[in-house]
């Protein structure tokens, strides 16, 4: 795949669409969650207001270089992840910058933002931030495992590590989706998905009642705005990976919006029903319930 300068504006267009969609989707989901709790919820444009307010705040402090760079790492991670994976199947325009690397790049690039953010939060010197990171890293080791196995199973199934080729192989009807051709892998991956979305029962990382929001405790104003921007982009980028690997990808933006919403809703549905796990509980939960599915997936493929 060759590089062409036109890919850059196209990629920025993807970024723009996803950013706006993400802001609206987050608000919608917050609203849905509020309704489950018999509350009214926020207006749909609330995230725009928050973002503009935070970017506009003039008083701000810094605890040092890594602290300053933390949110930059975080958002670079989100943007990079989005751009390294093709968004719309069959569209050269929205294939983004996926010529730089394959699925493995996307998988490992997830950690770029996580690591940078953890470093930034660490330099804030706040014990709650450190506790949150300790919890988050602990949980992610177990939560990522079923996903890694599922990805490996899918790569073995299609004999490729290229995301585009995996999506292409699922075209031609719903029954060609990995969901139906490799259900164990998808089941394992979706359980893993729950663990990566920062929602109950796996939200001990930010646990608002114990360690007020954990890692970002000390972040405010434009730092926080950068992270809010990431919160609009990163979950969608992650869902795009899931959509491409397991649910046939998307051939158009409307289909994209619907699939992303539905996949996202899985974690919301679980989240509004279950209470929070402690870290060791969630580690064991992933190893006991999700891991065997992943093992079956790589053995059966």
């Amino acid at each position: 795949m060759d590089f062409d300068w036109i890919r850059i504006p196209y990629a920025l267009l993807t970024l723009f669409i996803v950013f706006n969609y993400g802001l609206l989707l987050n608000a919608l989901i917050a609203k849905i969650a509020a309704r489950v709790g018999r509350r009214h919820g926020i207006p749909i444009w609330q995230n725009y207001i928050d973002l503009i307010k935070n970017y506009g705040l003039r008083s701000s402090i810094t605890h040092g270089a890594m602290y300053y760079l933390g949110p930059v790492f975080r958002l670079s991670g989100g943007v990079g992840l989005l751009l390294f994976v093709p968004t719309i199947h069959g569209s050269l325009m929205f294939a983004n910058l996926s010529f730089a690397g394959d699925l493995i790049l996307a998988l490992y690039f997830v950690f770029f933002g996580t690591l940078g953010m953890a470093l930034g939060a660490g330099e804030s010197g706040h014990p709650h931030a450190a506790i949150g990171i300790s919890r988050g890293l602990s949980q992610v080791t177990a939560a990522e495992l079923p996903f890694a196995l599922a990805v490996f199973s899918v790569a073995l199934q299609y004999q490729t590590l290229s995301v585009s080729e995996i999506v292409a192989a699922q075209q031609g009807g719903m029954l060609n989706w990995t969901l139906f051709t490799n259900p164990f892998a998808v089941a394992a991956a979706m359980l893993s998905f729950l663990g990566s979305m920062m929602r109950p029962p796996f939200d001990v990382v930010i646990a608002p009642q114990e360690i007020p929001i954990g890692p970002p405790t000390e972040y405010h104003s434009s730092y926080l705005a950068l992270m809010q921007t990431n919160r609009a982009i990163f979950p969608i980028a992650k869902v795009v990976v899931y959509m491409n690997l397991f649910f046939g990808g998307a051939t158009s933006w409307p289909l994209f919006c619907v699939k992303v919403f539905l996949i996202y809703m899985v974690s919301v549905l679980v989240g509004v029903v279950f209470p929070r796990f402690r870290v060791e509980q969630s580690v064991r939960w992933f190893l006991v319930w999700a891991l065997p599915l992943g093992v079956v997936a790589i053995l059966l493929v």
Binding site: M66, L97, Y108, G122, V140, T141, V295
Partner: protein
């Protein structure tokens, strides 16, 4: 030529002459004694030269009549060497004993002369009755010489010895009578010709003589009286008993067995029991001279095994027996003589040697001589012995000997550890010139013998190997300032690399680049150390010499010699750490255990061929090939610290000095990987009882990765954390190799390069920080980022590279890994490896967070950046990592092509900027650019909107509406992953540690319990002796 009978006549005559001298002419008597012994030595030396030049054996008949009318003596090559050993031992003993002899007067001197004469007679005689006479003379002289000691226990020991000796004499004399009755001759050669066994009563007659000579060798377990002598006699006399009397008795046994080949297996069995038993008992010993006694018993046991295997050894018999005997005699004499310079009798008292580097070097040489390390004669001899045993199918015997040798190495090196690491007393060893002369003579003799055996071996003299000579050259240069030596070392290493690299294939080149320029890079950090740093450079250069000889080796001998050299060098190096005594011991015991497995593997594969080309490993007989593979693989995996064999690593790597840790971790571990590379390329996959051994290695690799990583996250000590991380990293590399496909091997090579760079960099950073903060406990640090920014950058880059996050080079390793496993048939071990991956994040984050981030402690507010020389190599490594991340193809594409020659298919396509495999693609430069642009744009945006940010301290934080108390209490660092311990902590139960601890405890406790049978009671010892005689007889007859 001078008549050899003078060797008996001169000391005897001189002894009589001394009796005629006036009692107060002590000086003259002493001079006469020395002269007699010197003349004896000169005569022996002249004969030795004569026979070495190819002269025929000489028969000497007293009174000019043939046997049986006269006493027959014979001198040949072996006899002349033995005689030289005896006369020189006696000469140096006389020198050493000067004060004592002058005090005791001419009678003591006469007894010493008689002793030397009797031993010479034992070696020369061809007549059994004459043998008996010389043995009696030895006994009488021993009884007298024991009393030279100032130790009051010597009297009792001498008495017990006399009782035992009487019993032995009775056995011998009775045997002689029976033999004469059965065979009508006592001439050894005639007896050999008539095969005594077939005559009525001949077997019993032979047995009695045989067992008497064996008992005279003081073999385990019927030797309590002998141990008491070793312990309580004057060290000069103990040296004489061990070196000279042992030699003479061995000659006697050898002659005797010429007529009793049916008894060779019995000799082997007795020798083997003695070798293992005495070495086992020595484990629990803390008195130096008694320990040397045990060691003497063990060595003589090994020599009896060699005598027992005479037929198998064939023409190599003299080479093997001579090598081991010489090493034993020189080392034992040297050690006993050294013990006379040491005040206390406890092993820890040998720390006094630290005040005299030359004596410490002598001590190290003697220990190496005894263990049989290169370049000493025992090394060549054991190599030959092992090959003959394996070729002859005596595998069990080989295993037992190697086990005994490992026990021996264990207690000897523990002793050495006490000497190097103990607290030296105020007073160094006594300064007595004549004693020093003796010690130094043994030292020179040891090295000369090493050279000689190297020449005789026909395998290539290790003392001609340039890298080894370069390392040894640092011994005489040790007086130079450390910085000068450092420059010399760096120049030598780079020079050798420039000289040799055109001859390397790509695989060798990668390893050589890590070893030589890589080693030189780490040595930059050594400029930090001022002073002279005695002992550092010889050890370090020995390790590097071994490493580079390993890479360059073409045959099994060169490979093994290099392996032993690098092991010893690194042991000395690790031992230098302040608290590393126990860890260095554990390292060397595991390493030697691994080395012995490698030796066994080579001997099995070679089938007698002592210099097996490595390329012929694959030609091993089909039935043996899996065993060869197993032995070699386990041996190499000991070095890479695969799980189960890993317990030596954390302590050894963590407790080593600041610049040593990166060497032993970043470079030394690669020796094991290189060995595995050679093994797998030559032997491929092997099946043992239906189990695919490379499949087993996959599991071991995966478990090492998981458990290494898991244990790393619970460490509070930064260097220990890095050490455990190495176990995990080596697990990955092992896994890659065991995949047995193209990309798996490429991944392993990528690990070789990456692990070298980032692990040595991290060890240097952490070492520099520990130097400044005075602690290695991470929770005692915190917030150092602003004070040590360069160290922070090194650690940051290092952890990004290890974790595999793009865009640094670790990602390349991960990408190749995924492509490699796509082809692999085995999927289950992958589950473990997948779990291990993210766990690395845990310890890496902990490393950087608890040291650099969080709260700065009050006591560290004035800490400065790490010293320049420690930072410099780190910054170069940062540049290397970035460079390797951008253009991995520079190093890897040639290797890829080379592996393509070994494992065709499945390679990578390196066209343009993108690297493509059969499954995916990856473009390092593009990724770096994209990530860079995104990052820079967002950073610029943040700078724009946040330009007025105010810098505040770490302690200025929002804390639930309260002020935190102090930075020390606010830094969240200790037991950082507590919840993880609750969830998966059970995985880190130290099962392997407990297993090995239980095993060593069992050995020690067993030794402690069993050695109680040495009650110190003379009557008990006689019963032992009788029981031994009866036991051997029954076993022999029952066979």
């Amino acid at each position: 030529m001078v008549d050899a009978i003078l060797l008996i006549a001169i000391p005897l005559g001189t002894a009589f002459l001394l009796g005629l001298l006036p009692g107060h002419w002590r000086g003259a008597a002493y001079a006469l004694t020395l002269a007699a012994l010197a003349v004896g030595s000169a005569i022996s030396a002249a004969w030795l030269l004569e026979f070495a030049a190819g002269a025929d054996p000489r028969e000497i008949h007293t009174a000019g009549a043939p046997p049986p009318f006269a006493i027959a003596l014979r001198i040949a090559l072996a006899e002349s060497a033995g005689l030289l050993l005896v006369s020189l031992s006696a000469l140096f003993a006389a020198l050493y004993l000067r004060d004592t002899l002058l005090k005791q007067g001419r009678r003591a001197m006469a007894v010493l002369l008689i002793f030397a004469m009797a031993l010479s007679g034992l070696i020369l005689t061809r007549d059994l009755f004459n043998l008996f006479v010389f043995l009696e003379l030895t006994v009488i002289a021993t009884g007298g010489l024991v009393l030279l000691s100032s130790d009051p226990r010597a009297l009792g020991a001498g008495f017990k010895y006399l009782i035992a000796a009487q019993l032995i004499s009775i056995l011998l004399l009775t045997g002689l009578i029976f033999i004469y009755h059965a065979g009508a001759t006592l001439n050894i050669d005639e007896l050999a010709a008539i095969s005594l066994e077939r005559l009525p009563g001949g077997t019993l007659a032979f047995f009695l003589v045989f067992i008497a000579v064996v008992a005279e060798l003081k073999l385990f377990p019927a030797n309590g009286w002998a141990l008491d002598i070793y312990e309580s006699a004057h060290p000069a006399f103990s040296a004489l008993v061990s070196a000279a009397a042992g030699t003479a008795a061995l000659f006697a046994l050898d002659k005797l067995l010429a007529g009793g080949t049916a008894w060779l297996p019995v000799a082997t069995a007795i020798g083997c029991v003695s070798f293992i038993g005495a070495n086992l008992f020595a484990l629990a010993q803390d008195n130096d001279r008694r320990l040397l006694g045990y060691s003497s018993v063990a060595q003589l046991g090994l020599l009896v095994v060699v005598v027992g295997q005479r037929d198998l050894l064939g023409e190599a018999y003299l080479f093997v027996a001579g090598g081991i005997l010489l090493a034993h005699a020189l080392a034992k004499a040297g050690l006993f003589w050294l013990s006379g310079l040491i005040e206390g009798r406890d092993l820890t008292a040998w720390a006094a040697l630290r005040r005299r580097p030359l004596l410490l070097f002598a001590f190290a040489s003697f220990i190496a001589l005894l263990i049989g390390l290169p370049p000493f004669p025992g090394f060549y001899a054991k190599w030959e012995l092992a090959h003959r045993l394996a070729a002859g199918g005596h595998i069990a015997l080989l295993a037992l000997i190697l086990f005994g040798a490992l026990l021996e190495a264990g207690y000897l090196l523990r002793w050495f550890g006490h000497a190097v690491k103990g607290t030296p007393p105020e007073q160094g060893p006594a300064r007595a010139p004549q004693k020093m002369v003796a010690v130094h003579a043994a030292l020179a003799g040891g090295w000369a013998a090493g050279y000689l055996w190297g020449e005789l071996s026909g395998l290539g003299n290790l003392l001609h190997a340039l890298p080894l000579l370069f390392a040894l050259a640092f011994l005489p240069l040790d007086w130079l300032p450390a910085r000068v030596k450092n420059s010399l070392a760096i120049a030598g290493m780079l020079g050798w690399f420039l000289h040799a690299y055109p001859g390397y294939d790509p695989l060798q080149l990668i390893f050589a680049a890590v070893i030589l320029p890589g080693g030189a890079l780490i040595l930059l950090a050594s400029y930090q150390n001022g002073g002279r740093r005695i002992g550092f450079y010889p050890s370090a250069m020995l390790m590097f010499a071994g490493l580079i000889m390993l890479i360059e080796a073409n045959d099994s001998f060169g490979f093994f010699a290099a392996w032993e050299s690098l092991t010893i060098g690194s042991y000395f190096l690790i031992l230098r750490g302040r608290r590393s005594q126990a860890h260095a011991l554990s390292y060397i015991v595991f390493s030697l255990g691994g080395a012995f497995l490698i030796l066994a593997g080579f001997t099995l594969a070679a089938q007698g061929q002592t210099q097996l080309p490595l390329s012929a490993l694959g030609d091993a007989p089909t039935a043996l090939a899996p065993w060869v593979f197993l032995l070699l693989a386990v041996g190499f995996m000991t070095k890479t610290a695969a799980i189960g064999l890993h317990i030596w690593l954390p302590g050894a790597h963590a407790e080593a000095e600041t610049d040593v840790s990166p060497m032993v971790s970043g470079i030394l571990l690669k020796a094991g990987l290189y060995g595995l590379f050679v093994l797998l390329t030559q032997m491929g996959s092997q099946q043992l009882h239906g189990i695919d051994l490379t499949h087993a290695m996959l599991w071991i690799g995966a478990l090492s990765a998981l458990l290494g990583n898991l244990m790393a996250i619970f460490q509070e000590d930064a260097k220990r954390l890095l050490a455990y991380s190495s176990i995990g990293q080596m697990g990955y590399a092992l896994f890659g190799l065991a995949l047995m496909n193209h990309l798996g091997w490429l991944m392993a090579l990528m690990f070789v390069i990456n692990h070298f760079i980032y692990k040595s960099m991290l060890f240097l950073s952490v070492g520099g920080i520990a130097k400044r903060t005075g602690t290695r406990d991470m929770y005692r640090m915190g917030g150092l980022i602003t004070l040590m920014p360069l160290s922070f950058i090194a650690v940051l880059i290092g952890i990004i590279a290890i974790s595999g996050v793009p865009p640094l080079s670790g990602f390349g390793g991960r990408w190749i890994f995924y492509n490699a496993i796509m082809e692999g048939p085995h999927r289950l071990p992958l589950v473990i490896l997948f779990l291990a991956g993210p766990i690395a994040f845990l310890y890496l984050f902990r490393l950087i967070h608890t040291i650099f981030l969080g709260q700065l402690k009050d006591e560290h507010r004035r800490v400065r950046e790490a010293p320049f020389w420690i930072i410099l190599p780190q910054m170069i490594q940062v540049a290397l990592l970035l460079g390797f991340a951008l253009v991995p193809g520079l190093a890897l594409r040639h290797v890829d092509a080379y592996i393509g020659g070994l494992v065709p298919g499945g390679g990578l396509d390196w066209e343009g900027l993108t690297i493509t495999s059969a499954f995916g693609y990856w473009s390092p430069v593009t990724i770096m650019l994209i990530v860079g642009v995104i990052f820079a744009s967002l950073f610029a945006w943040l700078l724009l909107v946040n330009r007025r940010a105010q810098r505040v301290g770490q302690f200025n934080i929002v804390f639930a509406a309260e002020r935190p108390y102090r930075p020390e209490t606010t830094h969240f660092a200790w037991n950082f992953f507590a919840p993880y311990r609750k969830a998966l902590g059970f995985f880190t139960q130290p099962l392997a540690t407990r297993f090995w601890a239980a095993l060593t405890d069992l050995l020690h406790a067993g030794a402690g319990l069993l050695r109680r049978h040495y009650s110190g009671d003379g009557q008990t010892y006689v019963i032992h002796l009788l029981a031994f005689v009866v036991g051997v007889y029954l076993l022999r007859m029952g066979l």
